[in-house]
Structures are given as C-alpha cells and as structure tokens.
C-alpha cells in the first residue's frame, strides 16, 4: 500500500474542501413539505394587454368552473398554491419533483443541464416543460410548453396560455424555515409587461404527510353544486 505523509494528507484535505465548495450538490436543498399561510403572498395587479383587460371576467370564471367540475389537471400556477407542496430533490441530481395533494401531475424540473424539449415534438401539458439551474443559492426554473388545460388563472390577473413563459426563482430564507418563490410570467398576448409576484412558503412541521384530494367527474351532486347558483 502506498504510504502518505501528513503534509500530503493536509493538501488533500484542502483540495477536498475546495471541491465540495464547487460541487454541484453544495447548493441549498429545498426537500420537504411547504405550505402557504395568510401572509404568504405578495401579488400586485398584472399589467394586462388591452385585449385581456377588456375581457369579461366571466370568461375566466367559466373556464375555471369547467376545469374543476370535470377534474381536469390543474397545472401551473394553481398547483403552487392549491395545497401543501412536497418538494423532493432526487439524490441523483437529475431532477427536482414538486407534488401536492391535488389530483394533478407532479412538476418535474430537470436540473441535469438538458435544454427544453423540441416544441415540434412536445405535446403541451398543464405544467409545461421545466428546466432548472443554480445561480449561487438560488434555483432558477424556466418553463415553456404549457397547454391551456386546467386552472389557468394567474395570481394578479391574466391566464396561462400555450405562449406563456414562466421564470421562477427559489431561495431559502430564515435559516431554511421559509422558501421564497418569485414568479415572472411573460406572454405578449396577455401581459403588457412581465408580471412578477412572490410567494413565501413556510416549512411544514416534521412528520407532515401528503394527502389525496380526489376528484370525481361522475359525481352528479358535486357537479350540481359547482355549476348551479347557490340555493
């Protein structure tokens, strides 16, 4: 076995520390359950295009009612506020998955340096196609490829469309007890300028468990409740 003296080991230790400092896994870890509270949202009104601003508010209401009544996938942005989030960073470093108690697909954020999928071959989906990268301690997620399915209303005004482009910036606050997510939407048919708002999630207590909020389109009583005027 090769013999190494103390000086060489000291050098190796310094190299090891330096390598860890630059390691792709040295970023903050957002894994855990996160929840919104009454003081979690800072959402200014969106600057809408003239067309969107003139739209009857009932248009969005009817779209939302249809999505809920028929149990469509909710998609982004609603999945980020509809229920407690479970954020899991795959130990392989390939992706980060955000799921919730909603019966709506989990978000997959690929952080393995891949680019966006070819839009010519990608079928748009309610969560879009997300890729992420680290800027220091901030995770920056870029999402395109949205469908018009689900709950499309965007906090502050406007709606998600197939032309929408979303950039999110995630960073920990308060020693890791809170998570800030700054959302910035761009869509030339919806917004007169990029629309930015921030949610601050609280870390859920240890032992928190995921729930399942099921949805049955076949439930006629539920359908009546959602589509008929209150009695």
């Amino acid at each position: 076995m090769m013999r190494l003296d103390g000086r060489l080991f000291c050098g190796l230790a310094v190299v090891a520390v330096a390598a860890l400092a630059e390691s792709p896994t040295s970023h903050p870890n957002f894994t855990g359950f996160w929840e919104l509270r009454f003081d979690s949202k800072n959402v200014p009104p969106a600057a809408l295009t003239a067309t969107m601003a003139a739209e009857d508010r009932d248009v969005q209401y009817q779209l939302d009612v249809k999505a809920i009544r028929w149990c469509h996938f909710f998609g982004v942005p609603y999945v980020m506020e509809g229920a407690t989030l479970d954020i899991l960073e795959n130990q392989s470093g390939r992706d980060i998955v955000i799921s919730s108690s909603l019966r709506s697909p989990a978000r997959h954020i690929y952080v393995d340096h891949r680019g966006h999928v070819n839009p010519d071959t990608f079928d748009p989906v309610s969560n879009g196609h997300s890729i992420g990268r680290w800027e220091g301690e901030t995770l920056v997620i870029d999402t395109i490829g949205f469908s018009s399915e689900g709950l499309t209303a965007i906090p502050g005004g406007g709606r998600r469309t197939p032309d929408s482009h979303l950039v999110e910036r995630y960073r920990l606050l308060d020693g890791g007890n809170r998570l800030s997510v700054v959302f910035s939407w761009e869509d030339s048919k919806v917004f007169a300028k990029p629309h930015t708002y921030e949610f601050r999630y609280y870390r859920a207590p240890k032992g928190t468990e995921a729930r399942e909020f099921d949805c049955s389109a076949a439930d006629t009583e539920r359908a009546k409740f959602l589509t008929e005027p209150p009695k």
């Binding site: 896994t25 149990c71 392989s92 019966r103 989990a106 890791g176 468990e209 399942e212 949805c215 049955s216």
Partner: protein, 257 residues
C-alpha cells in the same frame, strides 16, 4: 450486490488521515445546511418502464406469468360473474369513461413510465397515469393508528432498507383496485413490497405480497420487473377529459335492466 463496507476499521487510522478527518468535521455542519450527504443505499432514482418480454405487445403474456391468487370463494364467484358480463359485451369501465383516479397498484402494471424520486427520508413514485404521487416515508415514522388513518388511493407507505433491498409496508387503501392474479384491494389490504436492482442497475425487481383476510386464503406474492429508461427521458401528462366526447365514446355503457 454485497453491502458496502468500510476500508479502514476503527482504531486502524493511519496518522496522516487524522488531518483529513478534521477537515471533514469542519465542513460537516456546512453540508448539513445544504444538500443531504451522499446516500449509501442503492440509487433507485430514475424513470422505470415495463417491457412486454413475454407477450406480443399487449402485456397479456407478461400478466399471464403472474400466479393465480388463492382467493376466497366469494371473490372467485364475483370474478366469474364479472367475466360473464364482459363476455356478453357489458364493458363496465366507469373509471375509464369518467377519467377516474387509478388505484394502486394499477400504474405498476401499466406500460407508461413512472419515476422514482429518492431522498434519504422519503422516496416518491411519480406516475404519468391519472393518479396521485405515492409517498414512501423512510424517516422512521410508523403507520398512523387505525382510527386516525385516512384511506387513500396509494395507501400509507413506510419503508426501510434491508441491505440493498427497499422494503415497503403499506396499509390504508381505499379499496376497489384490481391486483394481478385475480385479487383486489380493500381497506383491509396489507402490502409488503421489496424493491431491488439487478443487471448492474439497469433493471428493477419489485416483489409484491398482498395479505387480506377478506380476499385471499393465503398471502399472494408475484414479481414484476422494470427497465431503466434512457437518461434523457422526461415525463408526460396522461390526457383524460371526461367531458371530451371522444373519451365518453371510448367505453360501451353497460346494458341497463
């Protein structure tokens, strides 16, 4: 694969190694604030898919390899009646027509890929098909007391590592799901699964053992295997809209009496 072992035993540390250890102790707290340490358990993470290696593409041959469950007489009778209705053309598939939530273990038999997201304290199974993410807790928690357990599509799942094998224990199913081999899930179902890699990590074996005194005469065990998907695989969302006329027309309504 044998479990990982340490190269140096306690009390056999070469003198120079102490400096290295000091360095790692110094950065330990820093790592604790950032990412979890590298896991020593096998890396199950990634997308997994079934391949029809025994059939002609419909997975029929694969499912035929699963042994028949030893079922209680009333379950056998119910299965026979359902088969007779189907033979008469009464295709009873409410879940398909109404885009109902697929009950565990449906997505484990489906051809669509599903992903394992692995962390030290939780593993999630993330399917493409219409259902919820399945959460497997590895943080030492127990199942909730029966009186507090809320039945769910995927049940309440807790896991532990038994060497290189992930052992998952589940209870609390809503019931109503079909299990390969002729059984079904009920609120009394108890499932133990054993996940382990083989073929150099390219394949995953999952052995399912169902126990339910209302369904089985003895525990029902079968194995399914999965192939690791290509590294560039990405998830789809299974489209299903119950208000889409094409979806409703895809299923023949049962004859009404």
């Amino acid at each position: 694969m044998p479990p990982a072992t340490t190269k140096f035993g306690i009390g056999r540390v070469p003198p120079g190694v102490m400096l290295l250890e000091v360095a790692f102790f110094a950065i330990g707290p820093m790592l604790a604030q950032t990412s979890p340490p590298a896991a020593s358990s096998p890396d199950l993470s990634g997308f997994w898919e079934r391949r029809d290696e025994a059939g002609s593409g419909s997975f029929g041959g694969t499912l035929e390899k699963i042994p028949h469950a030893a079922l209680k007489p009333e379950i056998i009778k119910a299965n026979r009646q359902a088969a007779e209705r189907a033979a008469r053309g009464e295709v009873v598939s409410v879940a398909s027509k109404w885009c109902g939530t697929n009950l565990y273990p449906f997505f484990m038999q489906h051809s669509a890929v599903w992903e394992i997201v692995q962390t030290p304290n939780e593993i999630a199974q993330v399917p493409e098909v219409h259902t919820f993410v399945r959460h497997i807790y590895l943080d030492g928690r127990k199942h909730p007391d029966a009186a507090l357990l809320q039945p769910s599509v995927n049940g309440h799942a807790i896991g532990r590592w038994d060497g290189d094998t992930l052992v998952v224990d589940s209870v609390g199913f809503v019931g109503g799901g079909a299990t390969p081999g002729g059984g079904r899930t009920t609120p009394h179902s108890h499932l133990v699964e054993r996940f382990h890699l083989f073929d150099g990590g390219k394949q995953l074996s999952v052995t399912f053992t169902w126990d339910d005194p209302t369904v089985y005469l003895k525990p029902h065990t079968y194995e399914l295997t999965y192939h690791r998907s290509d590294s560039g695989t990405y998830a789809f969302e299974e489209y299903c809209h119950a208000d889409d006329p094409a979806q409703g027309a895809s299923v023949v309504e049962p004859k009404q009496k």
